[in-house]
Symmetry: C2
């Protein structure tokens, strides 16, 4: 498992479109205590609300890692960014990136890493070797977020559930399984980059045995009904061995995003599939609630939708972005054995 050292300096380059800095915004929102500041080139349109630091100031504040906080349209890293990343390594920082194209594949960066002895963490790459799963029951409690599609809020929900557990003084660990989650938390594993034989085993290692009262909150991936990614979702479910799961769904979404021939899973179907397939590793697996992404609705419509789905399923329903996840955690903790 990767471990990226904080504090971070978040690099935004000269990105023209503030929305491209989603990764940086996630870091600043979920782990402000890990973020010392941001580094922006002239003309940068993004602003995370963090202190602007140049490399010297960052070094003085003890920054350990420069994290690439923005996506790049087209995927090609501009030369001026490469120069800055080289300078950061020369100033003593590690580099972390969730970009599709590994930084290590850029000769100037690879060369500087070797010369300076700094680490480049390309978090989309698998940092194996990983074990084969053994499927044996582990101690501790685990919660997995699952989805009716990709990009419905599984990472956000897991981070929110984890934060709410900590707010109640419950011992809990967030377990990142995607590149942005790994950057945010500084540890974890991009599970979709793992060789398929080892999916479940890698997740067993990521969320190991723990104290009986401890909760691991594991970020889900894909969906069990997704024609491209269901294998990842199932391997993750088996490796996670969850006691409880939360179904994440975007209200009103009908077709799988980018796969228009395929319908999203219904909440009901995802609950029953997750229970059915999860039971081989976790006999008492149960749905702990529904996380509803209501971003397409007005606030009143959102409250109505939540109420409607709550009555339909008899489970706590939350929109974590709008209203938090208190009800799911109330219910979860009230049912602990």
């Amino acid at each position: 498992m990767l471990k990226i050292e904080a504090p971070y300096l978040i690099y935004l380059g000269d990105t023209q479109i503030p929305e491209m800095a989603k990764t940086g915004a996630g870091l600043a929102y979920w782990r402000p205590e890990r973020c010392a500041g941001q580094l922006r080139e002239p003309g940068c349109a993004a602003d995370l609300g963090l202190p602007d630091l140049d490399l010297n100031a960052a070094v003085q504040q003890g920054v350990k890692t420069l994290v690439i906080g923005t996506a790049i349209p087209g995927g090609q890293l501009p030369d001026s960014w490469i120069t800055r990343i080289v300078e950061a390594m020369e100033a003593g920082m590690d580099i972390a990136s969730g970009l599709h194209s590994p930084l290590r594949s850029i000769p100037a960066l690879d060369k500087t890493a070797k010369e300076t002895g700094r680490n480049i963490y390309d978090v989309r790459l698998s940092h194996g070797p990983h074990p084969i799963a053994n499927g044996r029951k582990r101690s501790g409690q685990r919660l997995l977020t699952v989805g009716t599609d990709c990009a419905v809020g599984k990472k956000y929900s897991a981070l929110a559930l984890h934060r709410e557990l900590l707010a109640r003084d419950v011992s809990a660990t967030f377990r990142a399984t995607g590149q942005t989650g790994v950057l945010i938390d500084g540890q974890g594993l991009a599970i979709d980059a793992v060789v398929s034989d080892f999916i479940a085993g890698a997740v067993e290692a990521l969320a190991p045995s723990a104290d009986d009262a401890h909760w691991d909150v594991i970020e889900g991936q894909g969906s069990l009904v997704h024609p491209a990614y269901a294998g990842v979702s199932l391997g993750l479910l088996h490796g996670a061995q969850p006691d409880a799961f939360v179904v994440c769904h975007e209200y009103g979404r009908k077709q799988l995003s980018g796969f228009e021939d395929h319908r999203v899973g219904s909440i009901e179907h995802i609950i029953s599939l997750t229970e059915q397939l999860g039971r081989i590793v976790s006999k008492e697996i149960r749905c702990a609630g529904i996380s509803l992404n209501t971003s397409s609705l007005s606030e009143q419509e959102a409250l109505n939708a939540i109420q409607e789905i709550k009555e339909q399923y008899g489970l706590p329903v939350c929109d974590p972005v709008r209203f938090g996840v208190k009800e799911i955690i109330d219910d979860l903790l009230s049912k602990e054995s």
Copy 2:
């Protein structure tokens, strides 16, 4: 997708245990027309019944590839074998191996490959890049073998079903998804070596659109109820988009091999799971029969067991090793639209 050129010379080294030559035996049994001969060192206890050829004789007979036909206890390739493999490349042959440890990782072999320009096919490695699955309906017909556990006869059954289709003059292609299948057929893909994001997409590419009357017979992997490998099995099911599947089961096996905490899937459960999970890519998916491994039974017991299961499920049931797969193919072809 890998393509390994025939004819093959099968290398058995000086293996002391005939059973270690299972891969070679599979090649000689399923693709005798691809096997020019065997090469054995002094003291070798295995014999595939093929002509013994030295490297010179093999070259004269047009051999293109030396295939490692035997497993190695401990996994360490003996120096004398390395010397022989070097000589084979110098004589103009490619090398193909399904051993765990890649031949490419042995410096002398890697060096010789570069010097001679010959290929080393380590079929357990993924030869990507692979596409992301699109889940769109393809033409042609596809049959997938699925299992109640690993090592119950999915490869053997697929090869037998393919051979029986050819015997009826049906246009058909075997699609290997494991290292031994790839060596036997000279093409295919070890699906468990593919990065998990691409499992289904790699299988879509492996078994592409075809003429309406054509059958692809796809080798299954793992089991949907296996705590370590179910993710691979599900990705393979979705990528295969099968019209029909055959459930492979070893009579009398109760626990998953090597995973004693876990029961094998019942035939009934595997049928219903495969239909349920396969339907998102293949609406009319159906079970075409049951392949029963009766190796633990006497012949009369085997016939009784087959009859019993046939009555229980109302499906054709065969032991492909003992009695062939005619009934499954009869039934499959009678139901074609």
